[in-house]
C-alpha cells in the first residue's frame, strides 16, 4: 500500500499491456468485462478497475488537470458531488469547523484585477509533507500516488494540517452519522480528498470530475503518455500550485 511512488519516467508499457486497456481517445473504452466507461467530455481518460486483492500499481500515478478558465463563477457542482459521494454533510455552528474536502477559491490578481475561479483539494503530492510529519504513518501515499489517511491509525494530532501548504485537510470536529459505507470517516480523525479512491478502484472517475458541466477537470494517469491528461499537460502550459516547494503535486492547473 505504501510502496514508493514511481517517478513520472517509470516504464509504463508492462502495465499498459497487462491491463489490456483500450486505446485512449476513443469515445468509450472497455475497461472490465461488462463495464464500459463513457468518457466525460472530450478530455477525460479511461481508467482501469483494480482487481480485488491486488495492490495498487506503482506504475500508475493518478492525477487531475483543472482548467481554471472553464471553471464557472458560482458553480459548486464539483463540491456538491464530492460531499454527496463522500458523505460530508455536517453543518456546525462554527463553519470553520466543517470539513471541506474540496472548495472553490476565487483569485484576484493583485497586478491587474483579473479574476479566476478554481476548485482546490488535496494536491496528492509526490513528496507530501503530511505523510512526512504523521507520527503514526496514518497519512500515507498509495503506490499509485493517492494520498490517504488511514482512519484506523490516525490519532487526531493535526500535525498534518499544520504541514499541508494547501489547507487541504479537515479535522472531524463532531460525531458523525449516516456515513457512506465506502468512505469511512471518523470523529477525531483528519481527512481530505481521497481522489474518490473507491471509485477509481472500480474504474470510475472521481465524483468532482464526473459532475463538472464544463468539463474543466481531467482525470487520468500522469505516467501514461497516451492518456488525455498526460497529452494535455505535454501540450498546454500548466501550473503546480506552490511549485516553489517542490512537492510535485498530482493536481495541475491550467489558466492561472
Amino acid at each position: 500500500m505504501t510502496a514508493p511512488q514511481s517517478p513520472d519516467s517509470n516504464p509504463r508499457r508492462a502495465f499498459i499491456a497487462a491491463a489490456g486497456a483500450g486505446v485512449a481517445g476513443l469515445g468509450f473504452t472497455v475497461i472490465a468485462p461488462g463495464l464500459h466507461l463513457m468518457a466525460v467530455g472530450e478530455a477525460n481518460a479511461a481508467t482501469e478497475a483494480r482487481k480485488a486483492g491486488t495492490a495498487a500499481s506503482p506504475a500508475v500515478r493518478w492525477g487531475l488537470l483543472i482548467d481554471a478558465g472553464k471553471c464557472a463563477p458560482g458553480c459548486t457542482k464539483c463540491i456538491d458531488a464530492c460531499h454527496t459521494e463522500n458523505g460530508v454533510s455536517e453543518k456546525l455552528p462554527d463553519p470553520r469547523q466543517n470539513s471541506q474536502w474540496i472548495r472553490k477559491i476565487e483569485l484576484v490578481d493583485k497586478r491587474n484585477g483579473r479574476v479566476t475561479q478554481l476548485p482546490m483539494m488535496c494536491q496528492h503530492c509526490a513528496e507530501p509533507p503530511c505523510v512526512d510529519v504523521c507520527p503514526t504513518g496514518a497519512s500515507m501515499k498509495r503506490a499509485d500516488g493517492i494520498v490517504l489517511v488511514d482512519r484506523h491509525t490516525c490519532i487526531g494530532c493535526r500535525y498534518c494540517m499544520m504541514a499541508c501548504p494547501y489547507k487541504a485537510r479537515s479535522f472531524v470536529h463532531t460525531p458523525l452519522t449516516q456515513q457512506n459505507p465506502e468512505v469511512p470517516r471518523g470523529q477525531g480523525c483528519v481527512e481530505s480528498c481521497t481522489l474518490c479512491v473507491h471509485r477509481i478502484d472500480k474504474g470510475q472517475q472521481p465524483a468532482c470530475v464526473e459532475s463538472c458541466p464544463e468539463g474543466a477537470m481531467v482525470f487520468g494517469d500522469l505516467n501514461d503518455p497516451a492518456s488525455d491528461i498526460a497529452k494535455r499537460i505535454a501540450s498546454v502550459p500548466t501550473t503546480q500550485v506552490r511549485a516553489d516547494l517542490r512537492l510535485n503535486p498530482g493536481v495541475r492547473y491550467q489558466g492561472i
Binding site: L92, P93, D94, P95, R96, Q97, N98, S99, Q100, R103, K104, I105, E106, L107, V108, D109, K110, R111, T116, M120, P129, V131, D132, V133, C134, P135, T136, G137, A138, H152, T153, C154, I155, G156, C157, R158, Y159, M161, M162, A163, C164, P165, Y166, K167, R169, S170, F171, V172, H173, T174, P175, G186, Q187, G188, C189, V190, V241, R242, L245, I256
Partner: protein, 399 residues
C-alpha cells in the same frame, strides 16, 4: 509525638495535594467531555488546529527540559551550588513533562489511540521521534535521580547527568523542530527554532525552578543562601537576554525576505497578537525581568528575583501564544500575488478564543505538574542541602 510545626506541614501538604488533585481531575473531566462531544466544543478549527492546550503543553515540555539545566550545572559542569539542587530539578522536570504530555495526549482527536501512537512510529515525523524522546527522557531522569539520591549510586551520577543533559538537548531540539520542519506556514520553517527552543528551555526552566525552590525553603522555614540567589538570578538574566536576542534575529531575518513581510507586519504590528508580542512577550516577559535582575535596588532581594522569574513565566505563555496561535491565524499564502477568498476562509485572518473545556484541560496539565511536585517533595528528600562553608568557599573561588 508530632510537633505543632510538623502537623502544620502535614496539613499544608494535604491541602496543596488536594488542590492539585482537584485541578487535575477537572482537567481530565474536560478532556473526557471533549472526547465525547468532539472538538466542536473547543475554539480550535480547521485553520487554527492547535490552541491553548498546545501552548500550555509546549511550555511545560520545554520548561521540563530546561529545569534540568540546574542539575546539569551541578553534575556535568561540577558546580557544587547546583549539584545539591539536582534532585529538585529532576523532580520538577518529571512533573512538568508529565503535565505537558498529559495535555498533549488528552487533546488528541483520538486520545484512546495512545497505544497506536506507541506502536506505529513514523521516523520521518518529529512527533514520531517524540515516542522515543519522551520515554527515554523519563528513564534517564529516573536513573539520574537514583544515582543522586542513593548513596551507593553516587559515583554514577556524573555519567547519568551527562546522558540526561545530551538527551534533553536532543529532546528540546525536537520540540523546536516540530515547527522548524513545517514548510507550509510562514511563521515557522526556520532552523533557528531548534536552538532557540533550547535557550527558551533554559530560561523558562530556571524561571520555574527559582520560585519553586523559594517556596520549598519558605515551607520548611529555611533561608536560601544569598550566593545561590545571586548565581541563579545572573543565569536567568543571561538566558532571558539570549531568548530576546534570538527572537529579534528570527523576526529580522523573516522580515528581510519579501515573501514574509506581510506576515511580520501582521504579527508585530497589525493584529491582536502585536500587543501580546510587545507587551506580553517583550515587556513583561523580557525587559521588566531584566530590569529587575540588573537593577541594584531589586536584584539582591529574593522577592524581586522571584517576581522576575514569575514575569518570565508569564512572558513565556505570551511568547508561545503569539508563536503558535498567531502563526496559524495568518492565512496560508497558497497563491502568492493573488487576493483569495473561499468558503474555507482562504486568505482570511482567523481568530481564536479558547473555550472553557480547553482552559480547564490546560489548567489540568498545570495541576498534574503541581501535584507530582508536591507529592514528590513530600515523599522523598528533594530539599537542597548546602554545605554552607563549602559553598561560600566555592563561590569566592568561582567569583
Amino acid at each position: 509525638m508530632p510537633t505543632p510545626n510538623s502537623r502544620n506541614e502535614e496539613g499544608l501538604f494535604y491541602l496543596l495535594a488536594a488542590i492539585g488533585g482537584a485541578v487535575s481531575a477537572i482537567g481530565v473531566a474536560a478532556a473526557l467531555y471533549m472526547e465525547h462531544s468532539g472538538h466542536v466544543v473547543t475554539g480550535m478549527n480547521n485553520q487554527i488546529v492547535w490552541g491553548l492546550p498546545h501552548v500550555v503543553a509546549i511550555f511545560l515540555i520545554v520548561a521540563a527540559s530546561g529545569v534540568l539545566n540546574v542539575a546539569s550545572m551541578g553534575s556535568v559542569f561540577g558546580r557544587a551550588l547546583y549539584k545539591s539542587r539536582a534532585p529538585l530539578s529532576g523532580l520538577l522536570g518529571i512533573a512538568m513533562m508529565s503535565g505537558g504530555l498529559a495535555v498533549i495526549m488528552l487533546d488528541l482527536g483520538r486520545a484512546d489511540r495512545a497505544i497506536v501512537a506507541a506502536t506505529h512510529v513514523n521516523l520521518t515525523s518529529v512527533f514520531g521521534w517524540n515516542m522515543i524522546l519522551y520515554p527515554v527522557f523519563y528513564g534517564l531522569v529516573a536513573v539520574y535521580l537514583w544515582t543522586l539520591m542513593e548513596r551507593r549510586m553516587n559515583p554514577y551520577s556524573k555519567a547519568a547527568g551527562l546522558a540526561t543533559f545530551v538527551w534533553r538537548v536532543v529532546l528540546t531540539s525536537g520540540t523546536g523542530s516540530i515547527f522548524a520542519f513545517l514548510v507550509a506556514r510562514q511563521a515557522y520553517g526556520s532552523a533557528l527554532l531548534a536552538p532557540m527552543f533550547i535557550v527558551m528551555s533554559f530560561a523558562w526552566g530556571l524561571a520555574v525552578f527559582i520560585p519553586a525552590q523559594a517556596a520549598m525553603y519558605a515551607a520548611s522555614g529555611e533561608t536560601l543562601p544569598p550566593l545561590v540567589h545571586q548565581r541563579m538570578k545572573n543565569l536567568l538574566a543571561t538566558f532571558v537576554a539570549a531568548v530576546l536576542y534570538l527572537t529579534a534575529v528570527l523576526h529580522l531575518a523573516n522580515a528581510y525576505f519579501a515573501k514574509n513581510i506581510a506576515f511580520e507586519y501582521f504579527i508585530l504590528f497589525n493584529s491582536e497578537f502585536a500587543g501580546m508580542f510587545w507587551i506580553g512577550q517583550v515587556l513583561i516577559g523580557s525587559l521588566l525581568p531584566l530590569a529587575l535582575l540588573f537593577n541594584p535596588a531589586t536584584c539582591k532581594r529574593t522577592l524581586w528575583v522571584n517576581v522576575a522569574a514569575l514575569l518570565v513565566i508569564v512572558g513565556a505563555y505570551f511568547h508561545l501564544y503569539v508563536f503558535i496561535i498567531g502563526g496559524q491565524a495568518f492565512p496560508l499564502d497558497i497563491f502568492p500575488g493573488y487576493d483569495v477568498k473561499s468558503s474555507f476562509f482562504d486568505g482570511a485572518v482567523d481568530h481564536y478564543t479558547a473555550s472553557l473545556p480547553e482552559i480547564l484541560l490546560s489548567l489540568g496539565g498545570l495541576g498534574i505538574a503541581f501535584t507530582i511536585t508536591v507529592i514528590g517533595a513530600r515523599a522523598l528528600n528533594f530539599m537542597p542541602h548546602d554545605d554552607r562553608a563549602k559553598l561560600e568557599a566555592a563561590g569566592s573561588i568561582a567569583d
